[in-house]
């Protein structure tokens, strides 16, 4: 497959999702459409419960759509496809009985890669992950930031074009979070992956994204799309970014208020 660079890598067409856990069904997403081009760093931001994670789950093949469809590299998504898409979750979800190396190797193991290949790939990743010397540690022996880097390593190891990140730094303290953001930018620029990144943080969205998608309160729809064709690393105090921040905040504020005042 040799798609032109401008051709979208991910196409989301009018997807809807309803959940029926209680007596009344809840519409999590309504008629959401979005396309993502190769190499983009696309951030989805919105109030809690707006269906951001659901949308990501649809692209990853973990959540079935009730209406509409998701197409990745020309093929409709029906189940997880680890040849195309890798996911990093907010809870790193490391296997506690596996060491750092074994966790990073997991996806390759499922794929059936040989022991040698698995080990070599994982070892090569440890340097950029900043995990050298922690190969044989178990998740419980690592800090929160390190755990999330192992989870990112596990996703990078299967070397997909697309990386989905569901609030990956949401559970980290602010300093760690900012450092992890810088580190992720490095990885993104070096690997040229297409990233869809879900976050609550305005700062993260503005520092990292080439495009920000703002979602509405439940039922989640796309409210605004903001292009950020700015160079990296970004000076967050520059007038341009301060302006953008104010604009983004006013969009999100409205939705967060609606979400707060009751669904």
């Amino acid at each position: 497959m040799t798609a032109a660079a401008s051709e979208p890598l991910i196409v989301i067409e009018g997807v809807t999702k309803r959940y029926t856990t209680g007596a009344t069904p809840v519409v999590a997403l309504r008629d959401v459409s979005l396309t993502v081009a190769p190499g983009e760093f696309c951030t989805i931001i919105g109030p809690s419960g707006c269906g951001k994670s659901t949308l990501l789950g649809m692209v990853g093949g973990l959540v079935a759509v009730d209406a509409g469809r998701v197409i990745v590299e020309g093929a409709p998504v029906t189940r997880p496809d680890p040849r195309r898409v890798a996911t990093v979750f907010q809870d790193p979800g490391l296997f506690p009985w596996r060491t750092t190396l074994e966790n990073v190797e997991f996806g390759l193991e499922v794929r059936g890669a040989s022991r040698d290949v698995r080990r070599r790939t994982a070892l090569e990743l440890l340097g950029p992950l900043g995990l050298r010397g922690f190969e044989d540690r178990y998740p419980r022996e690592l800090s929160g930031g390190m755990r999330q880097r192992v989870a990112i390593g596990r996703a990078l190891a299967i070397d997909t074009k697309i990386l989905l990140m569901d609030e990956p730094f949401g559970a980290l303290d602010e300093q760690t979070r900012m450092l992890m953001g810088e580190w992720l930018l490095e990885i993104w620029r070096r690997t040229k992956k297409t990233v869809i990144f879900v976050t609550h943080s305005l700062h993260e969205a503005l520092a990292l994204s080439s495009r920000v998608v703002v979602m509405t309160a439940r039922p989640g729809r796309i409210k605004t799309v903001l292009d950020l064709p700015l160079p990296y690393p970004r000076a967050m105090e520059s007038p341009e970014l301060v302006d953008l921040r104010a604009k983004l905040w006013s969009e999100i504020r409205e939705e967060s208020l609606r979400a707060m005042q009751g669904l």
């Binding site: 093949g61 890798a86 996911t87 979800g93 009985w97 997991f106 499922v110």
Partner: protein, 248 residues
């Protein structure tokens, strides 16, 4: 070293106290150590019960069969109820209720169904071992983090891979604990079954010695049985430690 000496001291003190009290009271009922030791020697030299090995061997075979059945049925039923929502909700509570019934009440009917031979002992050992194994599987499945299952699925794991790479390691501690309890209870079931009514096996010898008031022989037989049980438990705990090391 000091600990070992202290342990030895208490054992020696208890044996001495036993000897003194037994002689003073009634040596025939309380069987002092000075009588047990010769009886044990006689037993092990195959003097008092020349066919002891065949009885021991029968009991071991009964235990092996009862436990083997308990493990297979326990795992099968546990996973069926744990992985299948409707089955679990329908039968889980029944299982828990049955487990609460003192198992000995079933034994008379087992003897009626299976007769006085090995079959009823195997059935009773099976019955006792089955429940803890099944319940351990159910508890273990509840311990598996749904998030880890989602993660594995995201990386392309199919059900069999999820089972092998996520569920089994996540539940192993609980599972191995249940398997160990199951073994202990299967052993108890078989031996209690033999004591309550049988023609062969360790329990029948114990019953025989007791019935004929051959109290030193009786105590010696109990000691041999005890060795058998402790042996099986030591074996099980070694396996448990290995399983632990494997998951660590």
């Amino acid at each position: 070293m000091k600990v070992a000496l202290a342990r030895l001291a208490i054992v020696a003190a208890l044996l001495a106290a036993w000897e003194v009290v037994a002689r003073a009271a009634n040596p025939w009922l309380y069987v002092p150590p000075s009588k047990v030791v010769p009886a044990l020697r006689e037993l092990l030299m195959l003097g008092s019960y020349p066919d002891l090995p065949s009885h021991v061997w029968l009991t071991i075979r009964e235990i092996a069969l009862a436990y083997g059945l308990a493990v297979s049925a326990g795992l099968a039923v546990g996973f069926a109820l744990g992985l299948h929502r409707t089955l679990g909700r329908a039968y889980g509570p029944i299982l828990a209720a049955l487990y609460a019934v003192p198992a000995v009440v079933w034994y008379p009917s087992l003897m009626l169904f299976f007769g006085l031979d090995a079959a009823s002992k195997i059935a009773f050992g099976f019955l006792l071992g089955f429940f803890p194994i099944t319940l351990a599987v159910l508890a273990g499945i509840r311990q598996v983090s749904p998030h880890l299952v989602t993660v594995a699925r995201a990386f392309g794991a199919r059900p069999l891979r999820v089972f092998r790479s996520v569920m089994v390691p996540a539940m192993l501690f609980t599972l191995v604990g249940g398997l160990r309890t199951g073994l202990a209870l299967s052993v108890i079931g078989v031996i209690v079954g033999e004591v309550l009514g049988s023609k062969a096996g360790m329990g029948s010898l114990i019953n025989h010695a007791y019935g004929l008031s051959r109290t030193p022989d009786y105590v010696a037989l109990v000691l041999v049985t005890l060795a058998l049980i402790v042996g099986s438990d030591v074996g099980a705990s070694l396996l448990e430690r290995r399983a632990r090391r494997w998951t660590e």
